[in-house]
């Protein structure tokens, strides 16, 4: 059977660091990039006698995710210890949730795929980091105790492409919720994939392989595609897919066996005796506010008249959504600014979405000048470009660059009269019916006005003076 006769079954497990200020079981800071082992205390170092005390902000973020994806929020969930030895795990166990997680069920909306079901979302603490150098290995425990949610998706994905779309949608949703920064490279958003294949048309699931170490969207597709092919080949050649954990080698683009089912860790989960059950009253859950998710913002934009393609571009980056909102005015015109002038400036590195120099509300000031005829559409574009670059007030840009159009009737009339006075024969021809000479007159006037005449007003004036 060719690959096309097999159906891949894929489920993703995502670990997302929560954007709390302090760690989940102690008061240490969660900020990234501090010198090694400077954001630590007896609790997150696992010193003898230290005990965890729960940070409620982390719980609220988990509730927020649960509510956003329509999960059931457990009124009572249980902390559990996951036991294994590793140098970056200071207590020799990770405090997690096992049998009774805080959220269960629910689904993530994925554009083009409808929704993908969730099995559960649970809270846990992150481990530290091992740093390997020639001189030996060292451990940095700044990350130890940073709160995580693990989001376990149902095996409803049927291709690497779908997996990648699901992951993108989930990442964007968490960013919209303000609970994760979506950074795959720094590891604050991490993904493991469970992959199996089965002959098309059959129901029974094939043997599952867990893929680890996939830290970009490209690698997610590569790793899953490679794995699907590998499993199909294995079956085709009369072999069997073995239950195992495989590591993705992103340099070679292949997956490699890390440990078999027999070598798998027995984590010896049991209820964490140092923490009472986590109680979330319906009142507490009700109080947690949930911001709009990407698909809701997309609907809003298109309903307000923004073109579908522009709306999608904006929704893909919550910072663009924010700029669009703050520009205000006609949503469609604001969208054109965001995907036009702003996007161009960002592409050309003239603007940084993380640190905008201008106040988006100032865009409306430029529009006002354009609508009043003070700026030509070309000049308006130039003012907007400079506004994005420097953040100077639009009026000052117009002045400094001398971009204001002459629309004042008296000033224009003097020029029009002067042009007509020295172009007597052309005026005669015009009156005789050579109407395309209007362009010649306007051109002459523009020359005199150094290009700053309002072309519409000049047209009208010449027509009137020439008896049209």
């Amino acid at each position: 059977m060719p690959v096309a006769d097999f159906e891949p079954v894929i489920g993703l497990e995502v670990h997302a660091q929560l954007l709390t200020r302090s760690k989940i079981f102690c008061g240490c800071s969660t900020s990234f990039g501090a010198p090694p082992n400077t954001q630590v205390c007896p609790v997150c170092l696992g010193l003898p006698g230290a005990l965890p005390s729960l940070n409620r902000a982390a719980v609220e973020m988990a509730i927020k995710a649960g509510k956003a994806f329509g999960c059931r929020i457990a009124e009572r969930s249980i902390w559990a210890r996951k036991n294994y030895f590793y140098p970056d795990l200071p207590k020799g166990y990770q405090i997690s949730q096992y049998e009774l997680p805080i959220c269960s069920g629910g689904a993530v909306p994925v554009p083009g795929l409808g929704t993908i079901g969730l099995t559960r979302i649970h809270l846990e603490e992150d481990a530290g980091k091992n740093i390997h150098a020639e001189s030996g290995s060292q451990v940095d425990l700044n990350r130890s105790g940073v709160p995580l949610i693990e989001i376990v998706g149902e095996p409803q994905l049927r291709s690497a492409e779908e997996a990648s779309e699901y992951l993108k949608a989930l990442r964007l949703s968490l960013i919209y919720l303000g609970i994760n920064d979506g950074n795959l490279e720094e590891g604050s958003f991490r993904c493991d994939a469970n992959v199996s294949v089965r002959p098309r048309g059959t129901q029974k699931l094939g043997t599952r392989v867990e893929l680890k170490n996939i830290n970009s969207f490209r690698f997610v597709r590569q790793a899953i595609e490679y794995e699907i092919e590998r499993q199909v080949k294995e079956i085709e050649s009369g072999g069997k897919v073995l239950q195992q954990t495989r590591l993705f080698d992103n340099e070679k683009g292949v997956t490699r066996s890390m440990r078999s089912k027999e070598e798998a860790n027995d984590y010896r989960y049991f209820p964490e005796p140092d923490l009472p059950p986590l109680l979330v009253s319906p009142e507490w859950a009700a109080k947690v506010q949930v911001p709009k998710l990407p698909h809701e913002v997309l609907d809003e934009l298109t309903r307000s008249g923004v073109a579908q393609a522009d709306a999608r571009t904006i929704v893909a980056d919550p910072r663009l959504v924010e700029v669009h909102r703050r520009v205000g005015g006609d949503p469609r015109r604001a969208a054109l600014f965001v995907v036009g002038e702003l996007a161009r400036a960002v592409n050309e590195k003239e603007a940084d979405l993380a640190a905008l120099k201008f106040e988006p509300a100032q865009v409306a000031e430029v529009w006002k000048l354009q609508d009043a005829g003070t700026l030509s559409s070309t000049a308006a574009k130039e003012v907007l470009a400079e506004l994005i670059r420097s953040g100077k007030p639009p009026a000052r840009i117009v002045q400094e660059k001398g971009l204001a159009q002459v629309s004042d009737a008296g000033a224009l009339e003097a020029v029009v009269d002067a042009v007509l006075a020295r172009s007597v024969s052309e005026a005669e021809k015009y009156k005789a019916g050579k109407k395309n000479l209007l362009g010649f007159f306007v051109g002459q006037a523009m020359k005199e006005l150094k290009g700053k005449g309002n072309p519409g007003a000049l047209n009208e004036l010449f027509k009137r003076k020439l008896g049209d």
Partner: protein, 488 residues
């Protein structure tokens, strides 16, 4: 009688009356420790410098902070104390200096107590004789060939030998009450959650509880008032207000109903203990208590359930001793080899045995049969007590089935050693408060302890009963021969 031979509450009164200065008291305490500890080995180390500074500060205070101000106190070596070596009796923590004070240590310091040193214990509190200490056993002041019990053997022996008037210990399955019984002093394990465990090196987190030793019940009450209370750093600690335990002693015991459980007076109980405890019950009856027979039918399963729950939690709690961050680290070139050698060299035999038992009990495929089943037994034991407390205010029974046994007698028989906790373990499984008070001597003149078990957070009733009994019986005032020979 010299002040330093008095029980804690009277030492406190003498300090309040300025009959003795904190500094003089500390010096006589240090003197007795130096004289006797070569034989007893109750202490692992002294904190003389800190103690002298604290005693001096206490002397200079115009007004006493409270009843513990200036009172010499020593700590089981399971309590973290900033900058003072804390080993939990294990070679794996030899030289370990905690960077912080346990909550109870901070509270004692704030109460003005003078902390004189750290006391010997079974490694990681696993044992009933203090023979599992990596630093050698502690001996019983009543007979140096015998054990003071354990795991808080050092804490018990130091009080009985009048080295200090009060000590702190921990009790996971009897580790305060059993040694208190074996050396003839009072020792209380409060309700689970009454005292913070923050900074207390964990053995079995759902069972561990901090408690106190003193020669007198009032002394225990004073210590308990100082250390009890909610701690935001320990989320299993209770937010209930802490009563003034010593003040409640005056209320007497008339009308209190005490239950006598048949299951705690059966086979294996040393006849002299049976007799002494029954005599103790009669004393309480004569004080106006109503005595009722009760049944705690699931208690015989307690030891089995305990050794599943306690070892399971211990196997996880002790995983952090891996040589990576602190404590002993073996020389090795590979990570796995480093882990294996560090733990092989660092842990003693009993600790290894329990880590293996606990790891097994939690393993995939065995969890339901062991850990889950043990938790069910635990719930049944708790229910037995709930039922009993519907008709009685406290339960009275022996603390230990035997008086102090010989050093080495049970070292090679773990099961016999485990059975020494048969009357104390159910109390931990149920999370209840329990106290042991001296109630006589056997025919070798070894102390006998009587145990009182109370409702959750009803330490007051236990202290009242124990105090009323102590006043009538007077056993707590007897001095062990070791102290007597050293001269009054």
């Amino acid at each position: 009688m010299k002040v330093d031979l008095l029980p804690l509450s009277r030492v406190s009164a003498a300090l309040a009356a300025r009959e003795v200065s904190p500094e003089a008291l500390l010096e006589s305490s240090l003197e007795r420790i130096r004289a006797l500890d070569g034989k007893l080995h109750a202490f692992l180390r002294l904190t003389e410098g800190e103690a002298r500074a604290a005693a001096k500060a206490a002397s200079q205070r115009r007004e006493r902070i409270g009843p513990l101000d200036g009172v010499p106190i020593a700590l089981k070596d399971i309590f973290c104390m900033e900058g003072v070596e804390t080993t939990a009796g294990s070679r794996i923590l030899k030289g370990y200096l905690p960077p912080y004070d346990a909550t109870v240590v901070r509270k004692l310091k704030q109460a003005g107590a003078v902390i004189v040193g750290k006391l010997n214990m079974d490694e990681f509190a696993m044992g009933s004789s203090t023979e599992n200490s990596a630093f050698g056993p502690t001996r019983n002041p009543w007979d140096l060939e015998r054990t003071p019990g354990g795991s808080s053997g050092g804490s018990a022996a130091a009080v009985a030998a009048r080295m200090v008037p009060g000590t702190l210990g921990t009790d996971t399955g009897g580790s305060i009450r059993q040694p208190a019984a074996l050396v003839g002093c009072a020792g209380m394990k409060p309700t689970y959650g009454r005292v913070s465990r923050f900074g207390v090196i964990a053995f079995a987190s759902s069972l561990d509880q901090v408690g106190a030793f003193a020669q007198d019940v009032r002394g225990v009450a004073l210590l308990l008032s100082a250390i009890a209370g909610h701690d935001p750093d320990d989320q299993t600690s209770s937010t209930r207000p802490v009563p003034d335990y010593a003040a409640s002693l005056a209320r007497g015991v008339r009308g209190l109903r005490i239950g006598v459980p048949a299951e705690y007076f059966g086979e294996g109980l040393q006849p002299e203990i049976d007799k002494a405890v029954r005599a103790g019950i009669e004393v309480l009856r004569s004080e106006g208590c109503e005595v009722k027979p009760i049944s705690l039918p699931n208690s015989p399963h307690a030891i089995a359930a305990y050794y599943i729950v306690a070892t399971a939690e211990a196997s996880s709690n002790l995983a952090r001793y891996d040589g990576v961050r602190y404590g002993h680290r073996a020389r090795a070139t590979q990570l796995l080899e480093m882990y294996e050698r560090t733990r092989a060299e660092g842990f003693g035999a009993e600790v290894k045995r329990r880590i293996m038992l606990g790891t097994y009990a939690l393993s995939a495929g065995y969890y339901d049969a062991y850990y889950l089943r043990a938790q069910k037994v635990r719930a049944l034991i708790r229910r037995d007590f709930d039922t009993a407390f519907a008709t009685v205010d406290a339960v009275v029974c022996p603390t230990s089935p035997t008086t102090a046994f010989r050093l080495g007698e049970k070292v090679d028989d773990p099961l016999a050693m485990y059975l020494n906790d048969i009357y104390t373990v159910p109390v931990n499984l149920a999370g209840l408060p329990g106290i042991s008070v001296p109630c006589g001597f056997d025919n070798k003149r070894l102390p006998i302890g009587m145990q009182l078990i109370g409702k959750p957070f009803d330490e007051e009733t236990l202290l009242r009963l124990a105090h009323a009994y102590e006043q009538r019986a007077g056993f707590a005032e007897q001095l062990p021969p070791l102290v007597e020979h050293a001269g009054r």
